[in-house]
Amino acid sequence: MKNGRKRLRLFLRRAAVCLCGAAVLCLAAEGIYWFAGRIVPGGGAGVSSAVSARSPSSAALSAAPSSSEPVPVSSEEAPPPSAPPSSAPSEKPPSSAPEKTAGTRWFDDAVLIGDSRTEGLENYDGLGDATYYAVKGLMVDTVYTKAAVKVSGKKLTVMQALQRKNFGKVYIMLGVNELGWSSFDTFLKDYGKVVDDVKKYQPGARVYLQSILPVSAKKSASTTIYTNEKIVHANQAIRRLAQEKKVKYLAVDSALRDASGALPEGASTDGVHLNAEYCKKWCEYLIAHTDP
């Protein structure tokens, strides 16, 4: 009986030692895997248990808008897949965005309103802690109707979002998607209303109207709507509108066009949307044109 208890105690002691050993080995193995993952990330073999979800879309495609309606820019053509400088991945390290300086801090209480090109600027993220209400295809009328700005998890229109938070500066760039409108006067009237409402909802803010950026010469030649001639004409009108509404006009296009007045071919894949290098130029222009 005594012998039996002794054996049991011995067995339990050895089992405990074994369990401790197993725990140590588990931890060591985990460490080895972590280390191996850092050194040789591609190494290893086996069967993947990854969950792959190729979700079926329930979204129905709508017909392309006619030229009498607001036409989303760049819906005409996709960039060619064979353009080597364009398709090369830009390993733009995050650090290449301007560091937070006195210049970029200016934008901490700023909101930038615009279309897909302003979305690109948001991704570049070179303007401090600026807020962006940027929506693909945004126009002077859809700022009131397109609920696409996420605020606290809720989708709002730009104008609704503007009533939720106070800003010190409001930068607006609209107009390229409206180049297909049948009435230029309607565009100007609507833009004027946008400026009035921005001033109403943001009474303490400085308001800036940015010029429409040029498109590439190739893009301009390929369309009757998004031409640089039309953009120049629209910008002259936007400048006058800014004077009339007593807000600042920023000729951002001057920093991004080449000698012919077009967006350089290397600045974009589709002749419209800017790559990181040109987003940087845009940021630099805005930083250089802050008020004292």
Partner: protein
Amino acid sequence: MKKRFFCLLMAAVLAFAPACARKGGGKAADVEKLADEIVKTEKFVDQMSAVEQKTAVKIYGLEADDVAKAKVYESTGATAEEVAAFEAKDEDAAGRIRSAAAERVEDQKSAFEDYQPKEMTKLKTPLLMRQGKYVLLVVADDTSAAKQIADRYFQ
């Protein structure tokens, strides 16, 4: 006899130790290298640029604390192409990041369907994977190369 028994027990423990390490989190993967390799290998129509982690957190509507590490590449906006690799702080956070990535795809569908309908093809068949603490989203014409790379990293 007893010694032989304990030797066998220790051998069994040694054999199962690696499996023990894999259980729960899977192999540790470097999401930065994963995203970089996908961008270099996969064919993208648009120019892909890396965005800052804080920007990625904002774009995906994530809680910053959920993300241990991230590498996200965005296109210029001409296309819906994108590569986003996240390492979450734990598996629960990875679940939230995966949901946010799925929501991002739906948001992009809403944004592109009238604007650039051609991009809907890519958005209908994204590569969205979750493995342990890791989440990967790739939107491209053909994501098969990205899938192979990801399988290598996650196994």
